[in-house]
């Protein structure tokens, strides 16, 4: 009977929750928290977000899906600054992300107030992850339908790092991370890169290529590519990539995709 209440897309792909999926405070007999898994689904069906930790900094990119042609270009930014040296990209439910961003910002402020120095990236990621996890333990609350990729720099140790927080409250440190619709393809492409030598400028182009390649012109809605970085050139502040560089990177990425497609066409002709 529970299948009647599930949206058709979920009921055809998942086993029945059979009453164990009504509350995050109920485990299923095989040890699953269905509400948390459904929250992951909200993230998986959203616009792609990618982060890469390079030798000289961190870069973040999102496929910002344009829900309406009436939206002003460049508005509703999806890359957010949490502190002078911290920024995040998200994939999933935008209003839930708003809550997480505000929490991240207040953690940055309160750490500085209490300890006198800037919050290290791994501590911020852990605090945000603990916050997200809290919402998976209460009957009165629902889990966050958001995944976040957080980039940070610590001026004391002079180290930069990339972390990803998932709706179940885990966070890990990554060289490369991806969320959303295109995450599988993105991770495959990221694994091909040499992450121990890649620079920010190279990574920006790779992210642009990945997002453009995975975007299906026919099926998906139009999108804007949003890019930000945290590197020496930005004085280690989290900033949107200067528009001149962003345009250059996007153009170069599109050209590389076109060239690759033309090569494939040539090979077909030879047969």
């Amino acid at each position: 009977p529970i299948l009647e209440f599930l949206p058709t897309s979920i009921s055809t792909t998942m086993s029945s929750g059979a009453g164990y999926d009504l509350s995050p405070t109920t485990f299923s007999p095989d040890g699953r928290l269905f509400q948390v898994e459904y929250a992951h689904k909200a993230v998986e069906n959203s616009g792609t977000a990618i982060g890469i930790r390079c030798v000289d900094g961190c870069v973040l990119g999102v496929e910002k899906v344009l829900l309406s042609p009436l939206l002003k270009a460049g508005s509703n930014k999806q890359l957010h600054t949490l502190g002078p040296h911290h920024g995040m990209a998200f994939s999933g439910w935008a209003p839930d992300a708003r809550q997480l961003i505000d929490r991240g910002r207040s953690e940055v402020q309160s750490y500085e107030e209490t300890y006198g120095s800037e919050i290290p990236a791994e501590v911020l990621a852990e605090r945000m992850a603990q916050y997200v996890h809290y919402f998976t333990l209460h009957g009165a609350l629902r889990p966050f339908g958001v995944g976040a990729i957080v980039a940070g720099y610590d001026p004391e140790t002079k180290k930069h790092a990339l972390h990803m927080i998932e709706p179940n409250g885990v966070q890990y440190r990554y060289f490369g991370a991806a969320l959303g619709k295109g995450r599988m393809g993105a991770k495959t492409e990221i694994e091909k890169l040499n992450l121990s030598t890649i620079t920010c400028r190279e990574a920006l182009k790779e992210i642009a290529k990945i997002i453009h390649t995975l975007h299906d012109e026919g099926k998906d809605k139009p999108f804007e590519l949003e890019l930000s970085w945290l590197c020496e050139e930005s004085s280690w502040k989290h900033q949107h990539v200067p528009s001149a560089l962003a345009n250059e990177v996007e153009a170069a990425a599109k050209k590389e995709i076109e060239d690759a497609e033309m090569e494939d066409d040539d090979e077909e002709d030879d047969e």
Partner: protein, 215 residues
């Protein structure tokens, strides 16, 4: 700076009428204090330890109410320990001083405490932070505090030189505290010296009959 509070002590309260001092050098810090604890004119403890350890390489010199400063140093020690575990590296002196300042400022009405936080961390090297009565936080090349400090302002200003070596700092601290102990009735006993640097901490004391200056 913090000498006048002696007359404001609650009746029967144990006060550390004191001389405390800390001097930073490039690779660390020298902290020093006298050892007299008085209740009125009775010397409750003539060999007390007024330099409390907050962490492996961070110490706090205490002056004012003995109970208040012990409570503050206990809290800061506890917060610093959790913090060190969270960030997985030695905490900075700045963090220790910020935690102490927060306690002193937020509870300024209830506390009578003037402290000096000094130590070594790999980020800044040796640093000295002074937190007088109201809860201001000031980073200084060196600092003095306690009732005895009022008698040696001239002496320390005259004898301080920037970029002193560790040994010069130790001599400077010993001499200055000895001078204060000679004039301040609330300071006396022995001089406790703590030297902190990258290799670790050395604790030393100068017996009361071997002070560099005094009767």
């Amino acid at each position: 700076m913090s000498g006048a509070f002696e007359s404001g002590a609650r009746k029967g309260e144990v006060a550390t009428g004191t001389t405390i001092m800390a001097v930073a050098f490039e690779g660390g810090v020298v902290l020093g204090a006298d050892s007299r604890v008085s209740t009125g004119t009775y010397i409750a403890n003539r060999v007390s330890d007024k330099v409390a350890a907050l962490h492996d390489s961070i110490y706090m010199c205490r002056s004012g109410s003995a109970a208040d400063t012990q409570a503050i140093s206990d809290y800061v020690r506890y917060f610093l320990a959790s913090h060190a575990t969270e960030i997985n590296r030695p905490p900075t002196v700045k963090t220790a001083a910020t935690l102490a300042r927060k306690l002193c400022y937020e509870n300024k009405d209830a506390l009578m405490a003037g402290v000096i936080v000094g130590g070594y961390d790999p980020i800044e090297g040796g640093s000295v932070y002074v937190i007088p009565l109201g809860g201001t936080l000031m980073k200084m090349p060196f600092a003095i505090g306690g009732s005895g400090s009022t008698y040696i302002y001239g002496a320390v200003d005259a004898n301080y030189k920037p970029n002193m070596t560790k040994e010069e700092c130790q001599e400077f601290v010993k001499k200055s505290i000895a001078h204060a102990m000679a004039r301040d009735g609330s300071s006396g006993g022995i001089i406790r010296l703590v030297t902190v640097d990258a290799t670790g901490t050395t604790r030393d004391y100068i017996p009361g009959d071997q002070l560099p200056y005094g009767p």
